[in-house]
Point group: C2
Chain length 206, copies 2
DNA sequence: CAATATTGAATGAACGTTCATTCATATCTG
DNA sequence: CAGATATGAATGAACGTTCATTCAATATTG
C-alpha cells in the first residue's frame, strides 16, 4: 500500500515561501497579493504558509528583516576597511546601489513597502531601518572626525540627504521603462554628496 | 483609461468629502480606510460619495492632483522672480518644505501614497509628479546656465538628489514623535545641496 | 521481519468578515 | 409636481485564516 513516491521537494519550505512572496509582492504589491497566490507561486498549499508564518504581515516583515540584516552584515567589514571620509562614503553608496541592482524584484518590494502605514508592518520594519540609519550616520561622523567633511556638518541632516538621494535614485531606476545601469549613478552621486558634505575633492585647488 | 473626475456642480459636498478623505487616509492609510468611514467623516451617506467620485481610487487621485496643481501654480511665479542659481534653489526648497509643513495630514497622505503600486493610482498620479520633476529640473538647469552651478552637472541626477533629500526630510519629520519645526532644515539642506551642485558659496575663499 | 500504530507536515475546502459598489426609496428645490 | 440630490441598507465578491482530514514516513510490537 505505501508506495515509494518521489519526495515532494524536501527543500526547506520556508525559504521557498519567502522567495515566492518576493516575486508575487513585486508584481502585484502587498495588498494586491493574496496568500493563495503566494502559496501557488511557492508550489505549496494555502494552509502550509500558515505553518511557517502566523500572519500575512509576517511574510513581509520577515522578508525585509532577513535581507536587510544580511546586507548590513556584509556592509560593516567592507566599510570599516575603507579610509574614513570620501572613500568610505563612496563605498557605502556603492553597497547601497549594488544591493538593489542585484535583485530588481527585491528592490521593488523594498521601495514599495518601506512606507506602508500599517502599524504592524512599521513596527517590524523600523528597528532594521533604524540600524541602517545608524550605520550611515557612523560613516558620516567618521568623516567629520577625520576632518574630511565640514566640521560643523549636521550629521543627522546629512544622513537624511544621503538616504533620500540614494532612495530616490533606486526608485527612479525602478520606474524607468528603459532600464539603465543603476551603478552608473554611483560616481556622480557620491561626488555630489561628498561635496555637499564639505569635502575638498582632489583637483580642487585651495 | 481611468476616469478621474465626476463632478455635479454643487455646494461644498465634494470639497467636504475630499477633506474628509485626507483626514481618514492620513490616520488609517488608503487600504485601511473604507468608503463608509470617509463618508461618515464627511457627514454624508456612503452612496453620496459615489455621486462625486466613481471609484475609491478617484478620491486619492483627485486629492493628489488638486493639491499638487495648486502648489505648482503657486510656485511658478515665485521661482521665476528669484535669481537663477542658489537663491532660486533655496526658494524651491522653501516652497517644498512649507507646503508639507502647513498641513501635516496632507503630508502624510502624500508621503505614504506617492509610491502606491496600484497601476490605476500610479497612472493618475504620475503626470502631476512628472510636472513637478520638470520644475525642479528647470530650476537646476537655469542655475547651470547662469554659471552658478557646475557646468558639467548631471541635471537629471541632481534633480533626483534634490527631490530625494527633500522627500526624506519630510518623511523623517512625519516619523518623529517629538515634532520639530520642519522649516529649520531649510537653510542647511539648501546650502548642502547647492554645494553639492558645485555652487561657490559666499564666504568661500578661492 | 512483517504487521500495526503513531505522528505531524501538508492540504484545500469552508468560514466569517470586510468592503467597494449599487439601487430602491426618500428628501429637497425651483 | 418634476427633476435633481441624498440616503443607507443590501449585494456580492474577495480574502485572510482555520481546521478536519490525508498520508508518507517512522516507531512499536509480536
Amino acid at each position: 500500500m505505501p508506495k515509494v513516491q518521489n519526495a515532494p521537494v524536501t527543500g526547506d519550505k520556508e525559504a521557498r515561501i519567502l522567495a515566492a512572496a518576493v516575486r508575487v509582492f513585486a508584481e502585484h504589491g502587498y495588498h494586491g497579493s493574496s496568500m493563495a497566490a503566494v502559496a501557488r507561486e511557492a508550489g505549496v498549499a494555502t494552509g502550509t504558509t500558515y505553518l511557517y508564518f502566523d500572519r500575512k504581515q509576517d511574510l513581509l516583515v520577515t522578508l525585509f528583516q532577513r535581507h536587510l540584516t544580511e546586507y548590513m552584515a556584509r556592509c560593516a567589514p567592507i566599510l570599516a576597511a575603507e579610509t574614513p571620509g570620501v572613500p568610505r562614503l563612496h563605498r557605502l553608496a556603492e553597497q547601497h546601489l549594488a544591493f538593489f541592482a542585484e535583485d530588481r524584484q527585491l528592490a521593488t518590494v523594498f521601495q514599495i513597502h518601506l512606507r506602508e502605514p500599517d502599524p504592524l508592518l512599521a513596527e517590524g520594519i523600523r528597528p532594521s531601518v533604524a540600524a541602517y540609519f545608524d550605520l550611515i550616520g557612523d560613516v558620516i561622523q567618521a568623516g567629520v572626525e577625520a576632518g574630511a567633511f565640514a566640521a560643523d556638518l549636521d550629521v543627522r541632516l546629512a544622513r537624511q540627504v544621503f538616504f533620500g538621494a540614494m532612495d530616490e535614485i533606486v526608485t527612479g531606476w525602478l520606474r524607468a521603462k528603459r532600464p539603465h545601469a543603476l551603478m552608473s549613478a554611483l560616481d556622480p552621486v557620491a561626488t555630489m554628496l561628498a561635496q555637499g558634505f564639505g569635502a575638498t575633492l582632489p583637483g580642487d585647488p585651495s
